[in-house]
Amino acid sequence: MENMTRKKSNVSRRSFIQGLAVGGAGLATVNLVGAQTLAAPTPEEKPAELKIGMIGIGGQGRTLMMNCTKIPGIRIVAACDLWPRKKDWAGKALKKFKHNANTYVDYRELLEKEKGLDAVLIATPDFLHEPMTTAALEAGIHVYCEKEMSNTLEGCRKMVASQRKTGKLLQIGHQRRSNPRYLLADKIINKDKYLGRVTHINGQWNRCKPPFETWPKGTEIDQKVLEEFGYVNMEQFRNWRWFRKYGGGLMADLGSHQIDIFSWFLRANPKSVIASGGVDYYDDKREFPDNVMSIYEYDTPQGVSRAFYQVLSTTSFDSYREKFMGTNGTLILSEDPKVGFMFKEPDAPRLAWEEEAEQVDTMGAKAIELKIGQSRQSKDQKTESMGGDAAKKKPHQWHLENFFNAIRDPEKVKLTCPPEVAYETAVSVLKVEKALETNSKVTFSPDEFKV
């Protein structure tokens, strides 16, 4: 059976319990001890080798590349970055890994010269996603492209069109869509309905204080090259995330990962958004707000839900997480596998998995300790833990594997984030700029999400 499908079906209540500590008001508390010793990984069959090209070796490109080094059957044959410093780093790192990759400055040259590429991974500033994706798809190559899809909806639409025209696969990098912990949380919320009706969501990403970046003296990119690729200068190249020309600001860089989950779990796109934010702290050339607080309203199949989302670049406290608040319980989830907690309302019905959790305890799963009927302090309830299958791979690895497996077997494996899904998220996220600009409530029409 195909890899991703198999992994999905393995996502049981038990592995949810391994992946999240669960606390209840005097009902049940699960503490996890050394869960990683539980299940031994099954030896993987040797998959067909895929030849991969990397476009963009900045922070995110490096993450994707390093994730690929852990995936059997992936050979990186080419790497490209406009900045020779990063291009050379990639060449050197891949050599250490016994992959002799050709390196390029210009992605067009990579696409032209590299024959037999199965896919490219694109991790460049948002404004380049569309031209690069379109060029690769038209060259007959599958594409994994980082989110935000584009910094303009026009760019997003072009990407959808290129994908449809070429019929090649296009996966957008909202990697939580492939993460077993999120897939399981979705099941708990939407299939098992353990939280009751989810009336509110609270999401955040706090990150302390990203500096205005500089670069090692003498490593500047030639000004002509910068301009050819659309950059004003080296300073903007290094700090593209803060400029409208290249990116979508903190809401697109960080918020879009989580706002994507809101729509996914609520089974609805937002109806309206209000927002507040600005460049309040930094006194430099940054264009995008250094903090945004927003409230989205959703008409879900169960009724109205409201979601608060904040992204701050002035504090790192409490970092990144999403809190789904329902009438029977609250689930806190994060891509950080150490963060996961479920709270049950005292009057909530007893859950089926609680029985299973007891059984697991008597079936030799020493990692799980159940304490029934003990009244616990809230600090005890908030046990943060990890473990199980969901903790065995890095967050991006799942999403990359979904993409690679879909290339190998498109009949059995479907992409978890095809361009239409990412488009809806881009509409939700990019609209916040308008709410900030006009300082008013901005509404969405259902047609806006169609592409």
Binding site: A93, F97, T219, K392, K393, Q397
Partner: protein
């Protein structure tokens, strides 16, 4: 200029603007002191170095469930796991240093360490208790396949812990990043125990580091001056029934180390000094001396307390220019 303190060393006076950047990783505080007139420039450099540090922790820490080390520790014989290039590099270095120290440094010591920790560091009367545990210890239980970048284990229950080399290895990788920034000079330390001196402050032979006394934090053991070299210190002692016992186990005997209070190692890289300072806590002086003769770029110092309660300070190895142990 203020004197900055950390556990192993105190940095001497430097008459130049110094930018200090710090970051928490590997359950320790990492700091970079950079000599640079432009604070923004130095901070950007430091940020890049710390990013590298975080990436390494994500793969090398046994406390991170998706790290390469956790994946290796979950292996059963017959299974293998594909790991990142930097993890392979660190494992190969660990393997080499294990061999060079005749097995004194061994990152698979975990099962024995846990045993002693649970039992209050008392050597059992009956050695057979240790036998099963000792079978799960040894670098040779890991099979590293460099070409396929994969690792397998020869026995189940291997507990790899790169705590004795990871911080130093991370410092070396951070240094690689910092070199590209051409800072005048920089001093890095990680986990309060390993220091790398990059370049030298203007007008000086190197960074002068003061070594703290193992039993009295207020007292100095002397100074050492380093340039493009690394220094690490080891030694965490507890007192059990009036007897000082080290928190360090000799993988060769399976027993906690006795009598040695502290050890230091100087080496060209922090990965080496980190692992060797641990090894020097375990090896006897003649063993250390043999190692330092074979690897003349390495030197060390050990402090022992003998049965008459007398303290002995012994520098070992070739003394470099400006790098002598001034005690």
């Amino acid at each position: 200029m203020a004197i900055q303190k950390e556990r192993t060393v105190v940095i001497g006076d430097i008459d130049k603007p110094m930018v200090r950047a710090s970051h928490n990783a590997m359950a320790a505080l990492f700091e970079i002191y950079a000599l640079c007139d432009d604070a923004d420039y130095a901070n950007s450099a430091a940020r890049e170095a710390f990013e590298t540090l975080d990436r390494l922790e994500d793969d090398l820490s046994r406390f991170v469930p998706h790290s390469d080390v956790s994946r290796i520790n979950a292996l059963q014989p017959g299974q293998s796991v594909q790991i990142a290039p930097h993890t392979m590099e660190c494992l190969l270095l660990a393997q080499k240093l294990c061999k060079e120290s005749s097995g004194a440094f061994d990152p698979t010591i975990g099962p024995l360490f846990c045993y002693y920790k649970e039992r209050g560091w008392i050597i059992p009367q009956d050695e057979s208790e240790l036998k099963a545990l000792r079978e799960r210890v040894g670098m040779n239980l890991l099979s590293l396949r460099e070409q396929e970048h994969s690792v397998s284990v020869l026995r189940s229950g291997v507990m790899l812990d790169l705590g004795g080399i990871g911080k130093g290895f991370a410092l070396d990788n951070m240094i690689d990043e910092l070199r590209e920034w051409n800072l005048d000079a920089a001093l890095l330390h990680g986990g309060e125990s390993s220091v790398y001196a990059l370049g030298k402050p203007p007008g000086k032979d190197g960074w002068t580091l003061q070594i703290r006394h193992p039993e009295n934090q207020q007292k100095s053991m002397g100074t050492v001056t380093l340039c493009n070299r690394a220094l690490s210190g080891s030694g965490r002692m507890i007192v059990k029934s009036g007897q000082p016992v080290q928190h360090i186990i000799d993988p060769r005997s399976g027993h906690p180390v006795k009598g040695r209070l502290s050890s230091w190692a100087i080496a060209p890289t922090a990965g080496e000094s980190d692992a060797l300072s641990t090894a020097f806590l375990i090896m006897d002086k003649s063993e250390i001396s043999t190692l330092c003769k074979r690897r003349p770029e390495i030197s060390g110092m050990v402090v022992d307390r003998d049965s008459n309660d007398l303290m002995h300070i012994t520098p070992i190895g070739k003394i470099f220019e400006g790098e002598e142990w001034r005690i």
